[in-house]
Symmetry: C2
Subunit: 404 residues, 2 copies
Amino acid sequence: MAFSFLHQLECPRCHASYDPDTQAHLCTCGSPLLVRYDLEAASKQLSKQELQRREPSLWRYHELLPVRSPENVITLGEGMTPLIPLKRLGAQLEMPNLYVKDEGVIPTGSFKARGAAVGVSRAKELGVKTLAMPTNGNAGGAWATYAARAGIEAVIVMPEGAPTITRNECAINGARLFLVNGLINDAGAIVGRGVKAHGWYEASTLKEPYRIEGKKTMGYELAEQFAWDVPDVILYPTGGGVGIIGIYKALRELQQMGWIGERLPRLVAVQATGCAPIVQAWQEGKPDSQLWPNSRTIAFGINVPKALGDFLVLEAVRNTDGCAIAISDEELLQAQSRLATTEGLFVCPEGAATLAAAEQLRASGWIKADERVVLLNTGTGLKYPDTVQVEVPLLQPQDNLPVT
Amino acid sequence: MAFSFLHQLECPRCHASYDPDTQAHLCTCGSPLLVRYDLEAASKQLSKQELQRREPSLWRYHELLPVRSPENVITLGEGMTPLIPLKRLGAQLEMPNLYVKDEGVIPTGSFKARGAAVGVSRAKELGVKTLAMPTNGNAGGAWATYAARAGIEAVIVMPEGAPTITRNECAINGARLFLVNGLINDAGAIVGRGVKAHGWYEASTLKEPYRIEGKKTMGYELAEQFAWDVPDVILYPTGGGVGIIGIYKALRELQQMGWIGERLPRLVAVQATGCAPIVQAWQEGKPDSQLWPNSRTIAFGINVPKALGDFLVLEAVRNTDGCAIAISDEELLQAQSRLATTEGLFVCPEGAATLAAAEQLRASGWIKADERVVLLNTGTGLKYPDTVQVEVPLLQPQDNLPVT
């Protein structure tokens, strides 16, 4: 009985392979590396029935994750987030089979916990003492959290404009935190120089191969939650793109294991109109994106002007007959409010963008009325207090409440 | 096959019984009412094996919950929160079997979601159109959330000093929100007058019988997560007391069903030194508490100067050979920081108080080294940004990171 069927690291661009049991970052050709498993052996050990008996965390899929020894698993119980039907909103929008997969209900309140749990566990297994990364906030909070639990030092650099609460998360967990007067690409450059100078473990998006392995579990869970009959459309807010790359990777792995059929969900990359490099590349039929100048959106997590894995996102979208679509800040704030008042879901701005996107794609006919549509909400709205403007009447103890 | 084995409402003080299928609030004697089930019939239908096959939410225990019809279940996937071993902290504190049950990983980021999910579902089943309640913040956020999902109007009154983020939660979910220049008892009096004047459904703590039914599921889950061999000590931050009353009720029900043995965990009510009416009553051997004057603590959720269910809390503590203990704000902030840096858990101040309490009870010998000890963390630290003070260096894009 193997805990993991980790086999090798592989470059998706030049197909070079690497030993998975030494620290690895990018391929010599500059591409991110992907983790490969012995799926045939895994499918002999793991069954759908066995899965049902396991605890509701992403570690239920440990055979398909890169951590070799259970002692190295650093977990806070992350994963198996709820799949929530949106009956009232679905009826209003003529999508009766509309769902949210709610990544607000996970440690750190953001899907970034998945990548951090698996990434930090594997870093611990590989002997890492200090890791460093740039972040738009949530990833930093998550990696600081799991690094604290693992006893690994974390050096985090985030833009000054990132959500304030994520500073607190990094700080209380004991990370060495720095702000930068710039965007995530500026933070990335600072981290890159620090890694080179000090020999830290580079944990930037896709610059180590294991974060994606944590995030792909969203794909496994969706397949399992739909009883292995995958939905028709999945909409994903896309910044660095690891979530959508991961879901596509997971679905392909399940296909190879024979657990799902030929049909895949159409994957939709949702961006903000103020930062839409993937949408532009998709519209122009290009294999990768151009740096988006002066990028700007209230959905801070998808303010990524140029993603290292852009070509992998575009591949996932094209290979599944998906599409890419940009949403304005005004539209996504309206969608955020509508999800809360109609369904009781207080989602992050990034997650809200997927509802606005679904609405537009339904109106255009790209989504059909009978299709099963999943909005991926990547985090809780609680981390973005500034998106809600509240003026509340103040009463004195002797006052009475008005009727309406 | 019954969805619920709801049998009747019963007064724990004068033992009067009430029809459960009409709206009910307090007993004519002034006591809260408790929900009773046909446990014998329930234990014939529900088995421990069957439970394993059910989804990881509190609705897995639906036979022991008051909602009669599945169509009335208002859910966001709440429940089955993680039970997290604290190995490093446990070793430091000589409690090798120390755990956190983490209610930060639940919709709305607080255990209040449990009471709201079940309470709102049952209110919907009973035909409620408008509910009203006072809150220290988190309960209001949770009830506003589930009321929005149910299509029920919510009128919420909270102290001006309650956590700001909970205002946003109420507002974005469309509740009618009011602040009061006072404490929760002042908010309660305003709501009481509003209920009388306008005929709203009174949803104050213990003034409707179903909130406790949601919260008791923490007790079911703990029993199930410990494979029906319950832990030795459970520490619970105690304000209104519904959580600890609910856990005690759940454990007694499991005993009556023969699912757990005679031994119960010792229940510890943890309060703040600035608001410790239950601790005082426990020390003085009294059956109920006195209103605590000028109450004050940073752990806002347990700033409850006089709880309606105080006698039930004291009963739960006494009947399980438990105790009550007060923690200073300084101690709980230290504990909050220690949980984060050592275990990667960013808990709310109320939850942090349980660690400080466990430490003191271990030092005094009240907790033995080999005992299995559970800290109940009632919510995520993300909702309390002000408890973390951060000063972060600001870099320019051309700057380099220092070594240490």
